[in-house]
């Protein structure tokens, strides 16, 4: 949990729940500079003031200590921190190796609800145009 600067401030930021494709309206509570909670948006046209348990908890992962803050590479079975250049190089080498050896359909791409529409578009473009596979799926495919 981030330290609060304790300046008197409370804001609700309207947003859309990222957990699935339904698109429920959430209000993210910001107390001081800390994301402190979630409320349902009462007049939202999709969710009309209701949320499921994931929507109610949507703020929790932001300050989660389990959230990865730096790229990691598995070396001898252990995850080790690395820099982006090394991490991306490892991904590119691994993907190209798999494609060259076993064909493009040996590779799959898994997009995320926590990315923007544009970022997900770029991921499928990488899959289809660069690697040559239609194996694209999504964590929010309900």
């Amino acid at each position: 949990m981030a330290e609060n600067n304790n300046e008197l401030s409370y804001k609700l930021v309207p947003s859309t729940c990222v957990y699935c494709g339904t698109g429920c309206g959430v209000l993210l509570e910001v107390t001081g500079n800390r994301l402190s909670g979630t409320l349902p948006q009462k007049d939202h046209p999709v969710s009309r003031g209701a949320l499921c348990i994931k929507g109610w908890s949507v703020h929790e992962f932001v300050h989660s200590p389990r959230r990865l803050a730096r790229p990691m590479i598995r070396k001898d079975g252990e995850l080790v921190e690395t820099d982006w250049e090394t991490a991306l190089q490892a991904v590119a080498t691994g993907l190209a190796g798999a494609r060259d050896e076993h064909g493009p359909d040996s590779v799959g791409f898994f997009a995320s609800a926590r990315c923007s529409n544009e970022e997900n578009y770029l991921l499928q473009k990488l899959a289809r145009a660069a690697v040559g596979t239609n194996n694209v799926d999504h964590c929010a495919r309900l």
Partner: protein, 268 residues
Amino acid sequence: MSDLKTIVKEKLAGGADAFLCLKNEEGTVLPALITDADSPDLEFVDVGESRYPLGRILIDLQREYPDKRFAVLVRGCDERALIELSKLEQIDLDRLVMVGVACSTEEAEACGCPRPYPGDIALGEKVEAAPGREVIDEVESLGDAERLGWWKEQFSRCIKCYGCRNICPMCFCKDCALENPHLVEPGVIPPDFPSFHIIRALDMTGRCIDCGLCEEACPADIPLRSLYRKMQDIMEDKLEYRAGGSVEEKNPLSFLGTEHDIEKLEQE
């Protein structure tokens, strides 16, 4: 509403560090904390048609900012919540100024509120409404077995979102019985009958101020408000107490008294 804007400015000038109210920005009504008279939010302050758990928000604000004084826009239900929360030592009314707004006839009827206005009304006009009793009447017309079946059917739709608890202005416990794996089995939907819903109904006894936010937040349309309303009826009938009424009246479930008092009660 220009009147509300004037009131917010007055309270800020009169010693309140911040005013918790609602704003309507681009058609979306949401709570807003206004901390100074130059705030751009002042242009959008509005009573709005959506209700939010302002009591729940104020508990957090008073904890986070213990040296600040707040003013808050209250409907009848918000006022009841704050009064009961003060008795439960969750809200400090000495650091709080309430500005009352009466609900319109339309709002009061749609909501089925037992008292759609606060004690002091600064905005709107007081109207009376009859509390909605359709569900209670329907259930009470059934025999015991049918009644049990009726409630089981309602609770079978529960997706265990915890929205009823999360939106509730009267729910503040750090350790919630509904998250105790010995009482409510994790990962099971719908929750076992009667554990989840009956635990909540019992916890609401003498505490529920009948705002109906639980029922509004329920994605499964479970008639929670009627269940808790019936609990309050029983409470009033047996212990002559209804939550949220007055600051002076003691909640019979929130104190035990001295040993002498208990002995005296036992003798009676």
